[in-house]
């Protein structure tokens, strides 16, 4: 066996499988698997061909064959190495499958109702077909905006305190610890908290847009603190010292030197934290409630949001389930597009405004 494999290679490469061996084995395994499944599938239509089964069986076949080949021609150690390489690679592919499947399903099912009517009408008085999500889109925009307005100043100032003023003091340590605790608050508990507070002051069952914004702010503040703290810490101390040496007060140093240096990173962090809370459903379900009509007033009455809209359309499908599910998918597509746009914007900001380290 060894002689066969090493023929035509230099003596240094003796006892190793040639580079193309892995690819040839992989293709061969897939072909064999495809043939087997095609034979099983003989009697029925071509569309019944089991692609998933083919890939899984092919991958297992490849694992076995490459192990045996390597064990015969190389050594047991190399065989295990090749086996693990194949396993690790397939772990990555396994993780890609749900992502691709999810994106494909959302786009293909969401496009059906992704039309002008969807973005121009609310669900007011809609029972079966038609209807749209304009009320949910506005609700999401307003509530997320309010949450951002609440949490960015608090988060940013806290991180400034932690980096510039707190030092290693007791308060700074306590804040760091509790920010960590806050990152771990389950989103539904944040909703329960805001609900509990408001039901004491406004009586049970209160559902107002601003409650949703506050619940989201509870989730958003720790994220803003952590990301901006990390960025403020990497501002070189020489910059601060140069500013102090010019007699600039500390607060002006922070506002005019430290913050402008990191503003790109901070903006990126804020965008990412928005994209994280914009898809939150559970806290909004408990606080902002759901409604079928457009409500632009954050301080009065229930407000629909996109995630709650998606959940609601799925959970209460009503008289025409297909239509409701189609609306849910279109809402999911809108959400994904918003989140992707925010992520993209964050990356662009980071790239365009990043401090130029050279030149």
């Amino acid at each position: 066996m060894t002689a066969v494999v090493t023929r035509g290679t230099s003596s240094l490469a003796a006892g190793r499988l040639p580079k193309w061996a892995t690819w040839v084995t992989l293709v061969a395994a897939m072909v064999v698997s495809a043939v087997v499944f095609a034979l099983i599938n003989m009697g029925s239509a071509a569309s019944d061909f089991n692609v998933a089964g083919t890939l899984v069986v092919g991958a297992i076949l490849y694992l076995v064959v490459i192990y045996v080949l390597s064990r015969l021609s190389e050594s047991p150690r190399h065989a295990i190495d090749r086996f693990v390489t194949a396993l690790v690679t397939s772990a990555f592919i396994i993780a890609i499958i749900p992502l691709v499947s999810l994106l494909y399903t959302v786009v293909s099912s969401g496009i059906e109702r992704f039309d002008i009517e969807y973005f121009s009408s609310s669900m007011r008085g809609v029972v079966g077909t038609g209807g749209g999500a304009i009320h949910a889109v506005w609700g999401t925009i307003l509530i997320t905006l309010a949450a951002t307005i609440i949490s960015v100043p608090i988060g940013l100032m806290t991180s400034i305190y932690l980096v510039e003023y707190g030092g290693r003091g007791r308060i700074a340590k306590a804040i760091t610890f509790f920010v960590d605790v806050m990152t771990g608050i389950p989103s539904i508990v944040a909703g329960l908290f805001i609900f509990a507070v408001f039901s004491i002051f406004l009586g049970p069952g209160a559902s107002i847009g601003i409650m949703g914004a506050l619940a989201l702010a509870v989730l958003m503040i720790p994220v803003v603190v952590r990301s901006s703290e990390e960025l403020l810490r990497i501002v070189p101390n020489e910059l601060r010292e140069a500013s102090y040496a010019l007699g600039v007060p500390k607060w002006r140093t922070i506002v005019k030197v430290v913050l402008p240096t990191t503003i790109a990173g901070i903006m990126t962090g804020i965008m990412l934290s928005i994209s994280r809370v914009i898809g939150e459903t559970a806290p909004l379900l408990l606080t902002a409630g759901f409604t079928t009509s457009l409500n632009m007033n954050l301080f009065d009455g229930r407000m629909m949001t996109l995630p709650v809209f998606v959940y609601n359309q799925y959970q209460n499908q009503g008289t025409n389930p297909d239509e409701a599910v189609a609306r849910a998918w279109a809402g999911a597509l809108t959400l994904i597009l918003i989140v992707m746009a925010l992520n993209l914007a964050a990356r662009l900001i980071a790239k365009i405004f990043a401090p130029k380290l050279r030149g």
Binding site: H78, T158, P249, L286, P307
Partner: protein
Amino acid sequence: MAGMQGILVISPTPLPPLDDTKGRRGMTTSSTAQQQQEDPAQPPKATQQTRPAVRRLGDSIFSGTALGAGIIILLVLAAVAIFLVAQSIPGLSSEDNTILRDRSFLEYVVPLAFGTVWASLIALVIAAPIAIGIALFISHYAPRRFAAVLGYVIDLLAAVPSVVFGLWGALTLAGFVQPFYAWLNQNLGWFPLFSGQASATGNTILTASLVLAVMILPIMTAICREVFLQAPRLHEEAALALGATRWEMIRMAVLPFARGGMVSAAMLALGRALGETMAVTMVLSVSGVISVELLTSTNPTPIPANIALQFPEAHGNGVNTLIATGLVLFVVTFLVNAIARAIVNRRAQFSGAN
């Protein structure tokens, strides 16, 4: 120095003249600052001897605001604890309680707590090996050029809102895996996990855990990847120089170094899975039992899903009972996260908070 120059390019406007000249130790222009630099030791000394440093009004306001913001966070957290406790107490009694219905609170919450932990543990068991595999693939196997892109692809999973995962899990995944469940149930039905009557819809706890597993993959992968990349280069090269294969190098040099990080990554992922609501609510057909059967249509209910499902109809003391279960959830996730943080903080170079 290169960094400084670059940063000065970013903020090209010169520092504006300062308005509070009183406390500036006699310096009014930058030319005096120049002189000061030539003789740096003297003036501060003189200031120390004559009078204490002047507190500027701007500084006090600014540092006060910063401290205030920090204190707000502490207050919010204290408020979370106080309000949740205060609101849960009425929910502990079963009088007039539409949710407890003559059960004690403990009888009610134990199956729910079991459901929470059970679903999350299954998700972790599924996700952990895959996440470690992906992290290894990105850090040690993939070509350098692609590594960053591949990492970004995995991070995309983290950007998908949980309600979309729920929709996908309920409408796509459940239908896809149902035949496998039927097969498992038929052929391995003697095994306790796969016993019982297989669900016809696929809306089982295993499907919910699969969705949870996909959702916690990104955070676990991100932390593991960071830890693997921090493994000492010299150890890796030494192992390779001794003739180790790539896997042997990873087993001897990378994995022992990364053990703590991997455990804390798993704990943080578990913390996230425990609190996840929507995906489970939408995928699972719940019944609130304690059962380890993975494939049946009677499934244990995790706490968050239970709150989301019961909340719209709850009234009176029932709401308080739900808040009390939320408090239990909070305590459980807090403990899990605290253990994870304790492990992370032992080596403070990496953090899982992003």
